[in-house]
Subunit: 403 residues, 2 copies
């Protein structure tokens, strides 16, 4: 008796592949043929982690690795309280306002799971972090996109336009500032407008703040909690970008809402704890990291932003606004289909044995056919390489046009 | 304008708290009062991790922690292929049969998510690993429990009885052998029966094999894949119990089903990767760990099982079958409500300033009111402490009876 081929769940068929990572096999093949690739495609910081963290890993001795506390290792939670006091001046937070997560990714999933039922809507501003799509599929919720305009530096449209997208099924607004994939930092007025809309329409407000330390031009970093301590706010924090620890898989949820925190603790208990080793090392290190570390990384990324924006805008047909933070640029190219162009870069194009890898922007949009002439650039390589990568982009655009 | 208190999603209200961990605050309070607690309540191995792994952590140097590959770090995947060849004689597996997960917990969630739709049923054998309940709630699926009998050492009931629980909504069978919380190892005939039922009724078969190295009495460890390479099988593997690495949060899915693996890879891409550091260390170490390590841990746990079973069955009114593996015992006590008894142990009972913490078994059952006179004992403390812990249990049962 042969078994029939079983079908998968509806949801699992709908989980999208990563828009960046599906180009990976082409990149691997190129590398095998000896081609050097400059990576502008992935948001993985290249600056070294603080020395306090690096030496912590080095000096940690263990007999075995036990489960971490489901809420979070105490010292890590305490250092988060310290961090929000010293960096944001928030003095009323306690360890009970935090819940550790296995990367901010899990935080997004849990924030959606605790606030949305199947078929509920969540308002997002496109372009947005592509993985929100996968989490929405897992929850069975629908993303309602409000489109932001490149001409406006991807800042928010009017209150009226945003409200028009809210309907009876809308339960939450999701913002991300500094933004992935645009680098845009919402102004104080924009944050206040979002808070006002959320209150008026009785919506949850989920604020993805993974890039909060990367705000340029001398401006202070900010969190939505500096503007309101309302119980409808869920902040998602991460150690990945601030400390160059993407693979540590540690993040946290921060809220004044006890019910959200209770639900997240129960979700945490179901999978026992976030990684233990990393929590211990970070818990010991964070309070010792000096402000100069943040100043240094901010300066480095700001210089790269200035360089990239200037070089990109010199390429004929290319347009790139100058964003206020993170380490991304959302760039318009004189190319009809950047997915095809990205493949061209990896398969056909070479200049002195080198090429560049980019992230096509269509995956960052929910509305069909938007973003097709755009790419995301992550400036997480040093300035010399950044210059060469953008030069390669310029040469490739010319060659691609003549295909 | 004050915001209305927003309601949470239906699901988040239903996520259960961990049946073990909700006693934790009582234990903390007792510790603060200077009471020594012997922990029989949590399944966290105490034997040291292999030296190959410990020195790997010690000697790892890093500038930053990058994202791990979404599929899994190559060396870790290769060492899994090696492990299944050398330990199970399975020669046809490749890295493409594996998908890393953030702990086996995530593997259970993904196995359910890829195979079950909302309102589908999944057959489980109770008592079962309590966290299956949380995952089912997250998926919106229903656990259909087939009750196993303590008198029978928690082995499976007849094929007929099992089939009677399968209906039109049943999509999968979930087994766990060696079992948490009973320690029971399914016989070859039982595994073949389950395979037969799954084929006949066209069901997915999810096999949770976290304790596969812990089979006693000189018997070889086994996996369901030794009996069938059918595409309806999804194996969940873990490094936590085998190598005493619970807090590393690393596990894997193993299957012959390309569609399942593709869906799990996309789920993995959505949260980028499993912890990087641990993958690199384990990837380097696993092929160097000698068989003697497994022999040693098996011997240690087997001796503890023998000791515990013998001591427990000497206590009047206590009954405990002698299971074939893992490091758990499911024990019947002469107590009507072990949740109340567990609280009594932590709040009222003391003997020479010491007490013992246990896991009430009701949380391991889906059927209402089952397991109320049972506890789970995890023998993950050394033999001297195990003796004392069981002695404390005996004294406490007497005192509790006289309350």
């Amino acid at each position: 008796m042969k078994i029939k081929m079983l079908t998968l769940s509806y949801k699992s068929e709908k989980i999208p592949a990563s828009p960046i990572r599906e180009l990976a096999p082409l990149a691997q093949a190129a590398k095998k043929r000896g081609v050097k690739i400059y990576h502008l495609n992935i948001g993985e910081p290249d600056v070294p982690s603080p020395k306090e963290i690096r030496s912590g890993f080095k000096n940690f001795s263990l007999k075995s690795i036990p489960y971490a506390n489901s809420h979070g290792e105490e010292k890590l939670l305490e250092s988060l309280v310290y961090y929000y006091q010293s960096r944001f001046g928030l003095k009323d937070l306690t360890v009970n306002n935090f819940q550790t997560t296995s990367g901010s990714s899990e935080g997004i999933l849990w924030a959606m799971m605790t606030t949305l039922n199947s078929n509920d809507n969540i308002l997002v501003f496109e372009p947005f972090y592509a993985n929100y799509k996968s989490y929405a599929v897992q929850i069975g919720a629908t993303l309602s996109p409000v489109t932001c305009d490149i001409k406006n530096g991807f800042h928010l449209p009017s209150e009226e336009k945003i409200e028009r997208k809210i309907n009876a099924k809308t339960r939450a607004i999701l913002i991300c500032s500094p933004n992935n994939p645009t680098g845009t930092v919402l102004t104080d007025d924009e944050l206040k407008m979002i808070l006002k809309i959320a209150k008026k329409r009785n919506l949850w407000l989920i604020s993805d703040e993974a890039y909060t330390e990367l705000i340029f031009d001398g401006k202070k970093q900010k969190t939505i909690l500096s503007f309101s301590d309302s119980s409808n706010i869920i902040v998602l924090g991460s150690f990945s970008k601030t400390y160059s620890l993407c693979g540590a898989r540690l993040g946290y949820i921060l809220s004044q809402n006890k019910n959200v925190l209770s639900a997240c603790l129960r979700l945490s208990q179901a999978r026992l704890g976030a990684p233990f080793f990393e929590q211990v090392v970070l818990g010991r290190a964070i309070s010792n990291i000096k402000d100069s570390y943040f100043t240094k990384i901010r300066k480095e990324y700001q210089e790269r932003r200035d360089l990239s924006v200037s070089l990109l805008n010199k390429i004929p047909g290319v347009f790139c606004p100058k964003p206020e933070g993170a380490f991304y640029l959302l760039v318009e190219l004189p190319v009809a289909d950047t997915e095809d162009f990205a493949r061209f870069l990896l398969t056909d194009f070479r200049d002195k044995g080198e090429t560049v890898m980019i992230a096509p922007a269509q995956g960052f949009y929910e509305t069909a056919n938007l973003g097709k002439n755009k790419i995301r650039v992550a400036y997480v390589i040093n300035k010399k390489n950044l210059r060469r990568a953008i030069e390669l982009l310029e040469i490739a655009i010319k060659k691609y046009g003549k295909k």
